[in-house]
Symmetry: C2
Subunit: 292 residues, 2 copies
């Protein structure tokens, strides 16, 4: 077990506890809470909150300071999966090995549970958070909204397949996935009052990590089974989607992911050697080597 | 023309300018911005931002301080209308006299434009706002999320018609409409660092105003034409919905609205006589007397 895997297991237990605790504190009636909880506890990798915690430790800050921010990231990520799966968007029936929200709770509830998670991510920031609202809060909201994740989803809906080059894919993915990953690294640092060069280094780390992550996702959609991945695979191919492996071939796409992984690790040269720097290095390796 | 009508006309010009200015500053590409702008500029009454501005003036604060908060309210209100109109929810084709967002931009874009408006309401707070994030921001997010407006919409979807008494309608409406109206009065006061008794007085004002508003809405759905109202009328009756006038009769429902109007005005006794107190008194009268 690598240091990263050890930390991930440790921290994710704490993160899942905190997520449950914050959700409980919000005291939302079951008629809505059940749908929010279903998707929040569907057991994803919790990569975004883990990144935020890792950044807090790299910067020598109290873990508690970043926790509301970290959990708010997971609220946003979770709502985005619920809405992406809707019939009007990707129309996916399976998510994290379980039926999608709209298959269990209906389309109306899936829309509304997503809406609640979106707004209540900010409830968590305001009610439980004591970070830098002006810098960290703004980074977070920008990444979540119409200049970040949502814009990425819009472009993914609107850009015709024939227009998709590797550059176009990079642009879409940097918004759709990358924005929230950069919010998990650079935004968390801003929330914790880090200086600008530190925020910038962590933004570059998140940039390359996000691309490495997405390229690997596209490869796994081809090489992995639905059972292994916990979501429908082969769907890109079935839709004739131009993904990285389709445009580049699997081998070159993998090489591109590895290159981004190397660049991500390079940006960490900003930081002195430490246990948590090592974790972030190993995390970059993990993102391209993972099997699901 | 009453003082309220004069101020409403004046302030709403400024509010619409500011809304356009903030949206422009966000610099969202047209592919998404067009859909956000379409609904934002569909020309509603801007009641919520106006309330926030009125509260700022009642409290003798700089109008500029409340403007980001006021416009963020309109972002939330606008997204809620877009999502409420979706086929999976109320399935309304007409809103404010124009085709609903999903009729113009498609269901996928309506979902995403709503999502962006939801998150970017908070972008506006963080980027342009300098109010009390802990109190005012928390009030705002709570009203928007799963303990406020979204919960109201969920209950409106889930509570069967046969179970709807006047008390149940009050509960649903206090969440679905009331929460954001209270955020426009009490939340704005909290954002502007008002003391607790002031916030509480304005919360009660918003509470009664919200109920008076909703009861009147239900009456107008029966007594007004689609042309006058700018949205489909008679839809409650067509769906056999138990609304206030259905449960109480039009006359008693109107009396109930008038009673809430009186109670709203009573809570303003907390404040010394002033021009803006008069505006809020006249606003309460307007809410029950309006024809659309």
């Amino acid at each position: 077990m690598t240091l990263f895997e050890e930390k991930l297991a440790q921290e994710n237990e704490l993160i899942s506890q905190k997520l449950a605790e914050y959700l409980r504190s919000l005291n939302i009636p079951p008629v809505l809470n059940d749908a929010m909880k279903y998707s929040l506890s569907a057991g994803g990798k919790r990569l975004r909150p883990f990144l935020a915690v890792a950044v807090s430790q790299l910067l020598g800050k109290d873990r508690e300071l970043v926790m509301p921010y970290a959990c708010a990231l997971e609220f946003i990520h979770t709502y985005s999966l619920i809405h992406d799966d809707l019939p009007a968007l990707d129309n996916d029936d399976l998510r994290r090995g379980k039926p999608s929200s709209h298959k269990v709770f209906g389309e109306d509830m899936a829309i509304l549970a997503g809406d609640a998670l979106n707004a209540d991510a900010f409830s968590i920031l305001f009610e439980f958070g004591n970070g830098n609202f002006k810098k960290g809060g703004a980074y977070f909201a920008k990444a979540a909204g119409g200049r970040g994740m949502v814009l990425g989803q819009v472009k993914d809906c609107k850009v015709p397949e024939k227009d998709r080059s590797v550059e176009v894919l990079d642009d879409i993915n940097l918004l759709k996935t990358g924005a929230l990953i950069m919010a998990s690294t650079a935004g968390a640092a801003a929330w914790l009052d880090a200086d600008d060069p530190t925020v910038l280094a962590l933004e570059r780390y998140g940039y390359h990590l996000g691309l490495a992550f997405q390229i690997t996702d596209d490869i796994l959609d081809i090489t992995s089974s639905t059972e292994e991945l916990g979501k429908k695979t082969g769907s890109d191919a079935a839709l004739n989607k131009r993904t990285y492996p389709v445009l580049l071939g699997i081998e070159d796409a993998a090489a591109r992911a590895t290159e981004h992984c190397a660049k991500a690790k390079e940006t960490l040269e900003h930081f002195a050697a430490s246990e948590w720097k090592q974790v972030l290095i190993e995390l970059a390796d993990f993102v391209v080597r993972r099997k699901k």
